[in-house]
Symmetry: C2
Subunit: 232 residues, 2 copies
Amino acid sequence: MVTVRTPRASSRDDILRVFAEHVARKGYSDTSLSEIATVLGLSKGTIVHHFGNKERMLHEVHSAYYERRFAEAEFIHRELDDPLTQLAAIVYALLAAHRDDRAATIAFLREFVRYAEGGGLSEELRGRRIEYRDMVVAIIERGVAGGVFHSSDPGLSALHIFGMCNYAWTWYRPEGAKSIEEIATFFASDVLLGLCGARSESLTDVDEAISTAIATVIRTPNRLPPEPPAAS
Amino acid sequence: MVTVRTPRASSRDDILRVFAEHVARKGYSDTSLSEIATVLGLSKGTIVHHFGNKERMLHEVHSAYYERRFAEAEFIHRELDDPLTQLAAIVYALLAAHRDDRAATIAFLREFVRYAEGGGLSEELRGRRIEYRDMVVAIIERGVAGGVFHSSDPGLSALHIFGMCNYAWTWYRPEGAKSIEEIATFFASDVLLGLCGARSESLTDVDEAISTAIATVIRTPNRLPPEPPAAS
DNA sequence: ATTCGCCTACCGGACGAACGGTCAGTGTAA
DNA sequence: TTACACTGACCGTTCGTCCGGTAGGCGAAT
């Protein structure tokens, strides 16, 4: 095979993209550098040249994933002001990532436990995880303080939400019957009605909050476009 | 080290136990047979002698895990009759496994996606997963039919519950401040109040259902005892 | 305009380690 | 004598990593 190399155009991004796809499909340990090199028509040495080692590649995938989630979250925080809508937006954003940022999302959710305990590059990513969680906890606490939410433990409420959303990669399929918007609406009203105490007047509030939340998250700057349905 | 080998006592169970612990801690691919052999003072050949290959060991761990969950679930079904209490019991059972059946639970939740797509030993385990899900869906549907629950999509409600519970291994620590009973009570009332429409009169119903559920699950025959708090 | 050195992407073979798995053989209880 | 848990040397493969070398674009010096 003749390699046609566009001058000055590094394969860095391609490598990272294919790497994330493989990690998503087979997990980190079962992803081999030689396989990725073969897919891209590169040599294994090139990959090492760009990233140093395999661990740093995973770190970079995870780091970029966090970057996107934080950008989203900060946009949500900036554009929306009531906790109800903010929380709905977080739920939708986390679920939309399953469709629009699929490879990185699955690669992250499959492998982030690697950073649970110390060692190597884990400090930074562990910090980011705590940061994100605290942000959601803060939203819930603001809701509680404002009398909108009722939760005896905002930390557990947040873990409830994260579990509900972050487990979706194990069952969600883009080609499935339910759209992400339907799923997010269902999940968000589930938890929001619970948090609101589900007084009947809050029903319309929740519906409205979810609509606004979805519309807002979609407007996130530099947002990855929804992935087209798989051709195969 | 001198190996004291009790005659006729096969190491099968020990091997499987240590294997599950290692898979829980490091994942399937990063668990090596030689390491397990060393820990137990055996040779690698012995492990292969008992199980044939590594894949079958994982299969057996997962299979045994399902066995225990189904035994629990069937006991719940037998002892309890209203969907409210049954669902609370399922939530508690899934969470209690994180403490009382810890290694197998984490090993399962880390690795069950391996069986998502076809190949090898996956058919049976995939079937069991569907079976378990359908059972929970059936409970919700019975609740809906009886007017106790309100859910426009029992399938999604079940996925909500599974996500909430099955994500716990990523954050739950036995030595943590919250007990499994507290967590389960919090999570169960979250979803049950949502499903009940959270009319105020259902609040006491839900509390009572959860208490009954916990008391019942604990009585499950052949239940593994709660693991003692780690000494180290 | 040509030459030069430098930077960087990339090659591709070699490496040592570790892996899962094989197999002929051993010792002991039944 | 049979049955079986178990050994330990061994095999083929694959892994991540290393490294000397090549090629081409580019800015500076000539």
